[in-house]
Every structure is written in C-alpha cells, then in structure tokens.
C-alpha cells in the first residue's frame, strides 16, 4: 500500500481513510491517540477549519467569475449546499443520504468542462470530501491497452494517480467504441470497481459531446445510476464569447482597439451560425493568442514603440484567423486538446 506522508488531521479524516482502505483499524486507533494528545481541544480544530472556509470562499468566487455557465453554477451551488448539510447531519448523528458525487459533463468542446472540473476538485477538497482535490485528465488512449489484461492495468494506473482527487475522462463515449470485444468495456468495468472501492476518495467525471454521451449512457445502463449528477454545458453565446475574449486580453495585459473589438464581434457572430460547435471558448482563446502573435510580427520591425502600441491589438491582427485551430499546434498542451476536439 503506497502511503503518502500526509496524515489525516481530524477524526473524520481518520475515519474516511479507514473506510477508504488507506489505513488499518489499528493505525486508526494510533492516529486517534495522536490526535487526542496533540489537540486537547478535541473536536474543535479552529485554524484548519477557518482555512478551509476561506479556501471554499475563494473557489466559489472563482466559479462566480466564470463568464456565462449560469445553469452549471446553479447546480454546483446546489451540490455544495447538499454536501455541506449532509456533513452537518452526520456530525449530529442524523441519518445521511449516501453521497455519490460522480458526474457526467455534457457539452461541446470549449464550453468550460475541464475548467469547472478543476474548480470542483478544489471545492470538494476545501469541504473535506476529497483529501487532495487535484484533477487527473485522461482519455481513451490513456485507459485502453493493447492486449488482454493491459487495459485493467492502465486504467488502474490512472485511478491511482487520481486517488484523493478527480478523475476527468474526456470524450468518455469513446470507451464504448468498437463494440463488445473492445477493451473499452474492460476499462469501464475497472473504473466502476474502483469507484466502489475508493468511494470516499475519488470522484469520476465523464465528459463529452451531449449526443455521444447520451448514447454512451444508454448502452451502459449500469453507468447512469453510478453517475447521478449530469451537468449540461450550453454553448456560449457570441456575447459571452466576446466577454471571454476581453477577459483573456485583460489577463495578458492587452487591449482591443475599437476596430478590433468590432471585427472580433463580427467574427463571433459569423461563427454563431457555423454549425453545432460554435460556442467554443477554446477557439476564442486561440483567436486571441494568434492575434497576440500577429501583433508581435506587426510591431517587431517598427523603430518607435509606445506602451500603448504594445498593449493594443488592432483589427488587422484578427485577419485570416477565421479558420479554427489553425496555427495553434505549436502551443503545447492547448494544441493537444484543441486538435483532439476541434
């Protein structure tokens, strides 16, 4: 059993570790003893609790700062309240609902699924539901192996990495590709077993396009009940996309010139009628990043540059950027996801 150097700090954590199979009952008693001798105040660990409250407030603020996604935010607030009340009920020794927090995220690419998953991990960590709260992203290729027995091994490897946090499986419907004999089925079975074994220290999120996910869940009826929370991520409206573009510029200390703003709006409007994958924030990010590079090219030969020049993105920087995904391959991790789902 791989043991981390982190020790549970509260009685509840000791109990969670015990039921998750991270420590034996003997070790749990030893930890109790240590906790009681260390903190004679008993059940009132003041400082860490405060810290957690602050952490939680920070995460919720970050969530609120996300543009659009109103139904998602509402659902997450609901979830947060539910978990909190269940915990308080448990503290009063009232009966509690079993908490199955595994989720399905349905939405087109670039609608905020990964961002929200990352925030959820931190939120559950702050609430004491998950010990670590980190996010492990993976997809079919990370889970499915090449020969018999390889898949279970690879899937378990990913699960091990994700223990204590969130396992985010992008384009999860791909696990149902290839029919009965495909190894994807084995990956699903391994996953379901792990969810059972590590109930209190792993949250699994399956993500993918709405239609494909619906089909995926319909051919794996057992999954639907194990993933009781389904969150739909609507496409961004052109207006929201524009706000996202503005905030991306702000983060990078750039500014859109009025003409550039106009052109960007037009591009977003055109795109809005360009099929089902239009409301895509990743495309907007690529657009901005491309504009930043074009601005650099435009400015690099000039002799005199004002601070304003360095900040401003002009309309011409957005020319030719209509083709989504073009010219983003060089930018590392983003390119990978961008190309995979674009």
């Amino acid at each position: 059993m791989a043991r981390s150097t982190v020790e549970p700090r509260t009685v509840d954590e000791v109990l969670a570790w015990l039921s998750a199979g991270r420590i034996s009952s003997g070790e749990a008693f030893a930890l109790f003893r240590r906790l009681e001798t260390a903190a004679p105040a008993g059940d009132a660990p003041g400082a860490p609790d405060d810290e957690r409250q602050q952490q939680l407030a920070a995460v919720m603020a970050e969530l609120d700062a996300l543009i659009g996604l109103e139904p998602v935010k509402e659902l997450i607030r609901e979830l947060q309240a539910f978990v909190e009340i269940q915990r308080r009920r448990a503290a009063e020794r009232l009966s509690t609902e079993p908490m199955a927090l595994h989720m399905v995220f349905k939405g087109n690419p670039g609608t905020g699924k990964t961002t929200v998953a990352r925030l959820l991990g931190r939120m559950f960590q702050a609430m004491g539901v998950l010990p670590r709260g980190h996010l492990v992203e993976c997809e079919r290729a990370d889970l499915v192996g090449e020969y018999i027995g390889h898949t279970a091994q690879r899937t378990r490897e990913q699960i091990r990495k994700a223990l204590g946090g969130v396992l985010f499986i992008d384009e999860a419907y791909a696990l149902a590709r290839g029919g009965e004999k495909d190894f994807g089925k084995e990956a699903i079975d391994t996953l379901v077993k792990a969810m059972e074994d590590h109930k209190d220290e792993l949250i699994v999120i399956l993500a993918g396009y709405p239609h494909e996910m619906d089909y995926f869940l319909s051919v794996n009826p057992g999954l639907r009940s194990r993933f009781p929370i389904q969150i739909e991520f609507p496409d961004y409206t052109p207006d929201e996309l524009f706000q996202i573009a503005e905030s991306l510029c702000r983060q990078r200390q750039y500014r859109l010139s009025p003409a550039a703003a106009l052109r960007l709006r037009r591009l977003l409007q055109e795109r809005a009628h360009a099929g089902p994958y239009s409301g895509n924030a990743r495309w907007v990010r690529n657009l901005i990043e491309r504009a930043v590079r074009r601005q650099a090219v435009r400015l690099v030969r000039r002799r005199r540059l004002t601070r304003d020049d360095l900040i401003t993105l002009e309309a011409s920087d957005f020319e030719e950027a209509k083709v989504p995904g073009a010219g983003v391959r060089w930018s590392g991790a983003q390119a990978r996801t961008g190309v995979a789902s674009g």
Partner: protein
Amino acid sequence: MKRCIIIGRPNVGKTMFALQFAMYLGLAQPRIAFAEAGGRRWEKEYDIGSALADLTGSEPHYTRQLQTLRLELPAGKGRREFELVDTSGLVDGIHPDATIRRAMAQTLAAVRDAHIILHMVDAAQAGRTDAVQALGEVDYQVAQFAQMRGGYLLVANKMDLPEAARGLDRIRREFVGHPVAPVSALYRQGFHEVKAFVWRHL
C-alpha cells in the same frame, strides 16, 4: 445516557456476549436498534432465542452494523439506564471489502464517544496459538488508546473451552496493568465482574 461499547476482532463473541449480558440483567425481550454505516437505521424486537439465532454465527463479520440495546442497572433506590452497543469486528491490515471497512470506521467513530469500552478477546484462541497471534495489532492499539481514558475493561471470552485457561494467563501477561475479566458468553459465566465494572463507571 451513558454508552458502553463492545469492540474486538471478528468472531470473538461480541454479539453473543451483548445478548447474553442483556438477559443476565433481566431483559428477556431485547429491542435492538440497528444502524448501518451507510446511514440506514431500523429497530426490531426479539425474544432472546431468536436474537441469538438471527444475530450470531460462526463465520467472521456476522455483525456489520452497530446494534444498540438499552439496559438498566440498579443504582441506589432507582435504576440507571445505559446503552450497550455491539459492533462489527475490527481486523488487522486493509480489508478488501469496502462494506466491512466502512463498518469498522463506524465502530471507531462510536468508540470515540463511548463512556465504557469492553474490549473482547478470544482466550481459547490465545491458548491454542500464542498470544501475539491471537491478538492482533488492533488489540494492542485499542489497549494503548483506551489507556488514556477511563472505563476500559478487557473481556477474555470463551473461557468454557479447555485451552482458555492458558490463554487467559497469556492475555494477562500481554496486557499487564489492564483489568481483565474472564467470561463465557455462551454460558453466562463471569458476568458478575463485568456488571460490577459497568456499574462503577456509570
């Protein structure tokens, strides 16, 4: 109300003891409150025979939830009520079954707010093998944990078996400084000492 909890490894006779002890204190029709680790709760009334038949068995982990009995002891002119909590067995190492691990976590949570801990060990097993094998790591940890609090009694069960006398000696040597009460839960022997201990700590 004060709470008295029975803990120990699987199959040392915790449930048998709880039911027989209840009868010893004059409760012929125990009403048992069950609480599963998952949160499910229910109550059921038994007569002692059906309770023994239903709730005890020879395989380990027969009990997988908290089973609470409400009992009374005479105190002065009145009577004093207390709860006797029977628990799921504690094993060494990491148990592969998540249900049992959760049941153990539930047991530990209950131990923390119990006033009296009856720690049951199998004296016959200790006589057959040696004490270190019969008593697991968890037994030693329980003893050390309980040292810091009052109201801790080791109960050496299965004294009706021939090997148990030797086992009792070994247990006493292993847990020097802790009170040990030898009992036979099956035949309700040695209960007087346990009763006196509980009475003193109520």
